[in-house]
Amino acid sequence: MSERATHCTSSGIPLEEAGSTTFPCPGCFKPIGRSSRVRNQGVPYKCPNCGFVGP
């Protein structure tokens, strides 16, 4: 798989816990990170590189 994020794109916390994930930004393929909390709460993220807003 491609480059992995080390921090949550929304909250900035390190991605260490189970339930977090990393994937390429659908807009520019730079890594996006999401902590288990932001995933569980459906918290939006914005790609710092291209501005893609997810989920």
Partner: protein
């Protein structure tokens, strides 16, 4: 170039297949994907947004090795199109009842280790969703007006309940994935794949 001409298929095609027809209820998460409320109370999804998401999700899926993409559909109308999509792009599909542990229990025969999960409906495909979360997989999902974005990492806003809508979504997504790879064109795809044939037959 107008918005209309830049869509993957015409707005009429999306409408005829009810891709933009949401539900009577709207979740707060889905507000930004909704265009308007119809007089009968149905929430309509924004077609240009759906279209743009199909493109970006096709590109995203192509960053993964095809066999490491897992597509699931517990919902009946999604089963045939999800399976045909997986066959067309070389992904793995699990349709019908999702066997618990398929992503978490290496002792099971159904056990696999994909790199990304694609769900037809986050509410119906809850078991797969939970296991993907537990194993740190990113999750892409078709989300309807009443779905929540909980544990969905990339949303494809569309009617995920209708037979024709699910056929068109998966048919288009397959075409776009293969176009990114340079393996098909709009014309070649339409000639080889009758959209009606992608519809669930039961």
């Amino acid at each position: 170039m107008s918005e209309e001409t830049s869509l993957l298929v015409s707005a009429e095609t999306y409408e005829e297949n009810a891709v933009n027809i949401g539900t009577q209820q709207k979740s707060t998460d889905m507000g930004r994907f909704i265009e308007r409320v119809r007089e009968d109370g149905l929430y309509l999804l924004d077609i240009p947004t759906t279209d743009a998401r199909i493109r970006s999700i096709a590109a995203l899926l192509n960053t993964f090795d095809a066999p490491s993409i897992m597509v699931v559909s517990a919902r009946q109308y999604g089963q045939r199109p999800a399976r045909l999509f997986a066959e067309a792009v070389g992904a793995h599909s699990a349709v019908g009842r999702f066997i618990p542990g398929s992503l978490t229990n290496p002792a099971l025969r159904s056990y696999i280790e994909p790199d990304v999960l694609f769900v037809t409906d986050p509410a119906n495909d809850q078991q797969a969703l939970r296991e993907a979360v537990a194993t740190g997989l990113p999750i892409v999902g078709i989300v309807d007006a009443n779905n929540h974005l909980r544990n969905v990492d990339v949303a494809l806003p569309a009617n995920n309940k209708g037979r024709r809508s699910l056929a068109l979504i998966y048919w288009l997504l397959a075409r776009e994935v293969l176009k990114v790879r340079g393996e098909t064109t709009d014309e070649a795809w339409a000639e080889a794949n009758d959209l009606a044939d992608w519809e669930s037959t039961f």
